[in-house]
Amino acid sequence: MTAAVATTPRTGSRAFRALLRSETRLFLRDTGNVVFVLGFPMILLIGMGFAIPGMRDAITDAPEPWYGLRPIDLFAPIMVCVAVATAGLSSLPAMLAGYRERGVLRRLSTTPMRPQSVLLAQLVVQAGAVLVGAVLALVAGALVFGIPGPVQPLLTAALVVPAVAAIFGIGLLIGGLAPKATTASGLGMLVYFPMLFFAGLWTPGPLMPDAVEAVARFTPLGAASQAMTDAWLVGDGMPWLQLAVMVTWAAVLSTVAARTFRWS
């Protein structure tokens, strides 16, 4: 066994790369994923910009920092949140529950590859999908509507990490417990729309009532949206409270998900 043990690290990274390639291919082969996870934020942004009246007229009835911006400009950070939620709440739980339902995880656990690696590969692929989906939306927004870039680009980008961690925590929890892919999808959708509501998709920036905003601050995606909106439009430094909210959600959810995840 010494030979096998000696080759394990090499086999391990080669095996994980193969798994990652395979998961990426399978993700892209699913039309739903491509249209919804990668394309939806962009389609939504462009659709709203053209379909909803007044989206491209400057705001004159709200104070700074909103004054002078167009409503469509407020949607740039929200679209990043849409990308995070779509991957983490619509695609991830269904993929994981489907793998368990089909026995993919059970089958893997009889090989030297651990089923935990499939989880990791899925998280990497879905995080990549968030980036692609968000970048597509932002580039389209800049090209079509001239939406300005973030005031604090690095901070905005950095805030995507805790946002992904918190939302993917929900996805892991659902995917780890739902017995079937369809159940996971349903549960994911049940969380998806409230999350988008708190992220301000229907009431961006100054349109969100104060009471709702106060509640939203303590939800994973609401905190993400507020933090990114700050970094994008205002740039007055680290939104500590929202960051703490996201990190707490991420820690709690991933701990619970790790304890409750059913492999077979």
Binding site: V5, S22, L26, G98, R102, G103, V104, R107, T111, P112
Partner: protein
């Protein structure tokens, strides 16, 4: 009719002896395995040994504890009692070498819907340090023309063959195949059987779990019969089908005008029972029952039109054993 006690090959009783070290030719050793799910005992007491290079069968009705036994062997479940050694390793405390050297085909386990045959093989090959050539496996298993077909678009037989290919892609010492041919049509079953024999000829030890008697009879060198969580028989198919009391049975068709009652076959010392079965006369008795009966008939100038011996199939044995087991536990 008396039924045999648990049939064992002399000197191989796996439950005898306390030394947990296994011989060099024993690749799997299970002793007094016990596993319960809450109050439900799935495996009560299962012991057997598998020698290198053989096709070993675990036979039993649905729900007998076969799958639980196998899941314990491959490390998917921990045992509640007894010892399990696979290639000298405990699958629970030392799972790595077991995962490396045991290829598994499990019931109700499958692949992502859209992965293609060749992708699945290449992916699984990457998990092992010294994998088999996926291209060769594709050829051997007759999946070459389905290489780019998505898993969900394969037929049942093709899925099974891919599943076997995945169990073999790591170049395992042991392949565990659970309910391999369930749901296959007769031709696909026969093709699969041929394949199993080819795999054994490559030097792979095969543990075959099945509830099909004909499959076990055709393929297995040795087998255990499990019912309600316990081993009720161990041996080769020939040993199990041989009547332990040395009883023989034959059937004959006599000319229409012959009056067999005046022969008095049942009064012969070698004859236990004479029955009429579908217009044929079935005679059971000692090892000498056939010549004794034919001789007695010849003395009365009755020459049978047709005579054939009746061999117990594994199915008969199985039904006897399971029926007795059920009676005893009732």
């Amino acid at each position: 009719m008396p039924v045999p006690d648990t049939v064992r090959i002399p000197g191989t009783d796996p439950a005898v002896g306390t030394d947990p070290a296994v011989g060099t030719d024993t690749v799997i050793s299970v002793r007094h395995l016990r596993k319960a799910y809450g109050p439900k005992v799935a495996v009560r007491d299962v012991s057997f040994e598998v020698a290198r290079g053989e096709i070993f069968g675990i036979l039993g009705p649905n729900g007998a504890g076969k799958t639980t036994t196998v899941e314990t062997l491959v490390g998917l479940r921990g045992a509640d009692g007894g010892t399990v050694r696979v290639l000298g390793h405990d699958p629970q405390t030392d799972p790595e070498p077991v995962r490396l050297q045991v290829g598994v085909q499990l019931q109700e386990s499958s692949l992502p819907a859209k992965i293609t045959v060749v992708e699945a093989l290449r992916l699984y090959a990457a998990f092992y340090p010294d994998p088999a050539d996926p291209e060769e496996l594709l050829r051997v298993l007759g999946l070459d023309d389905r290489r780019d077909t998505a898993y969900d678009n394969l037929s049942g037989g093709q899925k099974q063959r891919l599943s076997i290919a995945l169990a073999l892609v790591g170049n395992p010492a042991i392949a565990v195949l659970d309910e391999l041919t369930t749901g296959l049509d007769p031709q696909a079953r026969r093709d699969t059987w041929r394949l199993i024999e080819q795999v054994r000829d490559r030097g792979v030890t095969i543990l075959l779990v099945t509830h099909f008697m004909d499959e076990a009879e055709r393929l297995c060198d040795r087998l255990v019969v499990i019912d309600e969580g316990s081993v009720i028989a161990t041996g080769s198919p020939a040993e199990l089908t041989r009547d332990p009391q040395g009883r023989r049975t034959f059937r004959m068709r006599l000319p229409d005008d012959s009056d067999v009652t005046r022969v008095g076959l049942e009064t012969l010392p070698d004859v236990d029972e004479v029955r009429d079965v579908d217009g044929e006369v079935e005679v059971s008795g000692s090892a000498r029952v056939l010549p004794a009966a034919i001789l007695a008939l010849a003395e009365h100038h009755i020459i049978p039109d047709e005579v054939r011996t009746v061999t117990r199939s594994l199915e008969d044995v199985f039904v006897d054993l399971v029926a007795r087991d059920t009676e005893e536990s009732a």
